[in-house]
């Protein structure tokens, strides 16, 4: 005889104590806004209560709540990027023209990469550069930052990022490329 798989139970009377800080941490690393992160934790629990009937007991309580939160974070990403999108891409187009000669696609002389130290970046000694990188990342439009966060923090495959943020694969590569060009330029300018 085989033992049946464990069935997880939901115990909302214990949710805040057990998961609030964990979920808050999860949210804040992904959206970087304390007030909004706090709201999302609250919404997650309330949505969880509504959806209790659909809990099949196959995942742990924490995994289940985290999945709800994750969907809410993606909604935030979408909201942050919608409306801005056209404007951002047009704006970025302008920046592209700045980096490269419009006629032949070559680097403009003043924008061509120069060695500035990032080439020797060593993660063990890299802490001091984090503040520069952070500053440069904060200058990126919200959509770009969302893509980087999903990609690097959650190791989401490209297809998933595209599907969740509702962008085409072609657009995804354009976003990544422009973000990289801008980041690189910002780092070269500010590196100590």
């Amino acid at each position: 005889m085989t033992t049946p798989p464990a069935i997880h139970q939901l115990d909302p009377k214990n949710w805040v104590k057990a998961y609030a800080d964990y979920l808050y941490m999860y949210a804040i690393t992904r959206i970087n806004d304390e007030e909004q992160a706090q709201d999302l934790v609250q919404e997650t629990f309330l949505a969880g209560l509504q959806a209790m009937g659909r809990f099949a007991g196959k995942s742990s309580e924490r995994t289940w709540l985290t999945a709800i939160l994750k969907n809410k974070i993606i909604d935030v990403y979408r909201k942050r990027s919608s409306g801005l999108r056209t404007q951002e891409l047009t704006h970025a187009e302008g920046e592209m023209v700045d980096f490269f000669d419009a006629a032949d696609g070559h680097w403009k002389e003043q924008h061509a990469p120069q060695p500035f130290g990032v080439e020797d970046y060593d993660p063990l000694e890299g802490k001091e550069f984090n503040s520069i990188l952070k500053m440069c990342m904060e200058k990126l439009p919200a959509l770009w930052l969302s893509v980087f966060t999903m990609k690097h923090l959650d190791d989401e495959p490209t297809d998933t990022v595209c599907a969740e943020l509702k962008i085409s694969a072609a657009n995804y590569w354009v976003i990544i490329h422009r973000a990289k060009l801008n980041l690189r330029a910002c780092l070269q300018k500010n590196w100590i």
Partner: protein
């Protein structure tokens, strides 16, 4: 211009392919075109190096966050649990 010539003379395209290649999503054709461009372009060869390092740095930075000990305020938590309890009793 044929596609090969287009890439040889185009750093904009070459850096685009560089970033695509970093995620392993480049086609065979694109890969050849990129190599040919890089062979003749020192600025883009440097970009290849820097772009890879920047990706590495972003990964390290995002994964090192947040500062430990980020917690919700206690009174917020008390209020939240009360709200949940009220909701449970309603159902």
């Amino acid at each position: 211009m044929n596609p090969l010539k287009a890439i040889i003379y185009n750093c904009s395209r070459a850096t685009y392919l560089t970033d695509k290649r970093l995620e392993g999503k480049i086609t065979f054709r694109e890969s050849i075109a990129l190599r040919i461009h890089l062979y003749g372009c020192a600025a883009c060869r440097l970009y290849v190096k820097q772009s890879a390092k920047i990706s590495e740095m972003i990964g390290d930075l995002l994964k090192s966050q947040p500062p430990q000990g980020v917690r919700l305020a206690d009174d917020f938590k008390v209020g939240l649990q009360e709200r949940i309890d009220r909701q449970i009793n309603k159902n």
